[in-house]
């Protein structure tokens, strides 16, 4: 399938979902859909580094929160322009602020991407479990920073009040849902392009054997940095709309363990070798969690993830996608397109 067609199919699927929810559902469907899709982005982002390159990132929550807090930062700044700047500067900045959410998404992506690049540079010498510990430490360090940073609310948290309604979309959650659809499309398209390009071959070579990869001319450090930056940026983007979604952000919720755990568990359950895996895993697990939250309690969520993860590691180590690995349409592996 060519990339433009793939692109169109995604847009169509997003549109159909949106119209279905508008016509037959209510706002709850949008909230639930947003949450599930947020996990699709997180899982796909995690998989770029974890699945393609084989570097397990336990700090997904950190990158997610970076995106969230970058939005909080600019939102808070927009609220207090008169106090923060001179009258003149505030007057000028008033033209820019409040910054539209799509721009904030880009900011969140850039911030998290840069931090990803920096962390990658510092930690990519570490392999296996040591890299995982380093990323976990990063999340803890970031959380400590945010807790002590009064401007973005510190440990007491920050309110981000979105308008109740917005032109064209109506309810604000419809708008956020649409934005998340766009992010899903960006994430899936990126992942799929990587898989079919030279980059994908390089990533897979790194995952299999870094020493041999170097001997084959693969610039491993450069590729790994590309992966951490891309993965971090996508996670940051997913987090940047979170404050508007939730309305009140505090470190505990933005750095929640469930983001770190889910971003690992979803690709693992879906399968890590292709973009389909994280998508399937996130849709399945995300939906299950939503169902559990409504029918039983939200505390059951992590239990479900844990049990499923253990089950899949034992029964299907290659994930759901692994079941179909030997099907003829999977066998015909295409060449890099670029």
């Amino acid at each position: 399938m060519r990339t433009p067609i793939f692109f169109l199919i995604q847009i169509l699927a997003g549109l159909v979902l949106y119209l279905l929810f508008i016509t037959f559902g209510n706002d709850y469907w949008f909230y639930a859909g947003y949450t599930v899709m947020q996990y699709v982005v997180l899982a796909t982002a995690w998989n770029i580094l974890g699945g393609y390159c084989g570097y397990v990132n336990f700090g997904s929550a950190g990158f997610f929160a970076l995106g969230a807090y970058s939005s909080v930062f600019f939102y808070t700044m927009g609220q207090g322009l008169d106090d923060l700047f001179s009258e003149r500067a505030a007057g000028l900045l008033a033209y820019i602020f409040p910054i539209p959410v799509p721009i904030l998404i880009l900011f969140g992506g850039v911030v998290a991407g840069l931090v990803g690049l920096g962390t990658g540079y510092l930690t990519l010498r570490l392999r296996g479990v040591f890299f995982a510990i380093a990323t976990l430490a990063l999340a803890v360090v970031l959380e400590t920073l945010v807790v002590n940073w009064d401007f973005v609310g510190g440990s007491r948290g920050a309110y981000v009040i979105p308008p109740a309604n917005i032109p064209v979309f109506g309810a604000y959650i419809h708008y956020l849902f649409a934005l998340m659809v766009v992010m899903v499309i960006v994430a899936l398209t990126t992942a799929r392009l990587i898989e079919r390009s030279r980059l994908g071959y390089g990533f897979a070579a790194i995952r299999d054997d870094e020493l041999t990869a170097e001997a084959c001319g693969v610039p491993t450090l450069k590729l790994k940095l590309t992966a951490t930056a891309l993965s971090g940026a996508l996670m940051g983007m997913a987090g940047s709309t979170f404050p508007f979604f939730i309305g009140y952000v505090e470190p505990g919720s933005a750095f929640s363990l469930s983001y770190a755990v889910n971003s690992i568990a979803m690709p693992m359950i879906g399968g890590t070798t292709s973009w389909v895996g994280p998508l399937v895993g996130a849709l399945l697990l995300g939906t299950l969690q939503q169902l559990a939250t409504v029918t039983i309690s939200s505390a059951v969520n992590l239990l479900i993830v844990g049990l499923l993860l253990v089950g899949f590691v034992v029964i299907a180590p290659k994930g759901i996608v692994g079941w179909f690995e030997n099907w003829p349409w999977r066998r015909a592996k295409s060449w890099p397109e670029s």
Binding site: Y201, A204, A205, E214, C216, V218, P219, K333
Partner: protein, 249 residues
């Protein structure tokens, strides 16, 4: 293709490498001319693999310089040296386990010649080149297979084909024949000679003397990190120092 250059293809100049207090390479000097077939022997732990790693950039030598094709290699990463035309096969085959045999060849094809600024190949050309490499080592029938389905000798051939895919000027075959049968060894030696006839300089590191003697035009001996002999194979093996190193006093 030789003759154009004035200096040697590979110059190893006073290279030393230590691991803590252990001196693995001690002031090694070697010149290798373009087109040569060189054998490198030495007892276990004599520093052969360390030397290869220093040449290829996997390890960094503390002292001395490696010059390849007129270009200083010091400070270059392994992948940059590969792109400069230095290829190696590993002592123990290290295939990309999750990829097919053909994909194992595609990685160096995608990352060396294209990256050198050479012409970007179309997909069909890449495919042709990939099959050509596999045909070279008679693995074309197994292109779609996974490396774990290969036999030992096929694995060694894949290792060589992958090194060849980088279009090297110099190929270092690090014990490409360890553990192979009589006829398989001959198979690989014949393959290496064929590659040499295509104009590729080859350094063969080997314990199997029969293979070394039939392959090498020149023989180097490394003992305890020092080069103790360098010359015609027939002369080198008669050298008293070499005999002592191999047979004991």
């Amino acid at each position: 293709m030789a003759g154009v250059m004035t200096g040697p293809l590979l110059r190893i100049d006073q290279v030393s490498k230590r691991f803590g207090g252990f001196v693995a390479l001690d002031d090694v000097n070697i010149d290798i001319a373009a087109g040569e077939r060189v054998g490198l022997i030495g007892p276990n732990g004599s520093g052969k693999s360390t030397l290869v790693n220093c040449i290829c950039g996997t390890l960094v030598n503390e002292a001395g310089t490696v010059t390849f094709d007129g270009q200083a290699m010091n400070g270059l990463n392994a992948h940059q040296r590969t792109r400069a035309g230095l290829a190696r096969s590993f002592q123990l085959p290290r295939p990309f386990a999750s990829m097919s045999v053909a994909d194992n060849i595609r990685v160096p094809l995608l990352y060396t010649v294209d990256a050198r600024g050479g012409p970007h190949r179309s997909l069909a050309e890449l495919d042709d080149r990939c099959m050509e490499m596999l045909k070279l080592v008679a693995l074309d029938e197994k292109a779609a297979k996974n490396p774990r389905d290969l036999t030992q000798v096929e694995m060694r051939k894949l290792e060589l084909a992958r090194a060849m895919a980088t279009e090297p000027k110099l190929l270092i075959a690090d014990e490409a024949m360890a553990g192979l049968s009589h006829s398989e060894v001959e198979d690989i030696v014949a393959l290496l000679i064929r590659l040499n006839e295509r104009g590729i300089t080859i350094i063969m590191i080997e314990h199997i003397m029969r293979a070394v003697m039939s392959f090498s035009q020149r023989l180097l001996v490394l003992v305890s990190g020092k080069k103790i002999a360098d010359g015609k194979p027939e002369d080198v093996i008669k050298n008293a120092e070499v005999e002592r190193a191999y047979l004991g006093q």
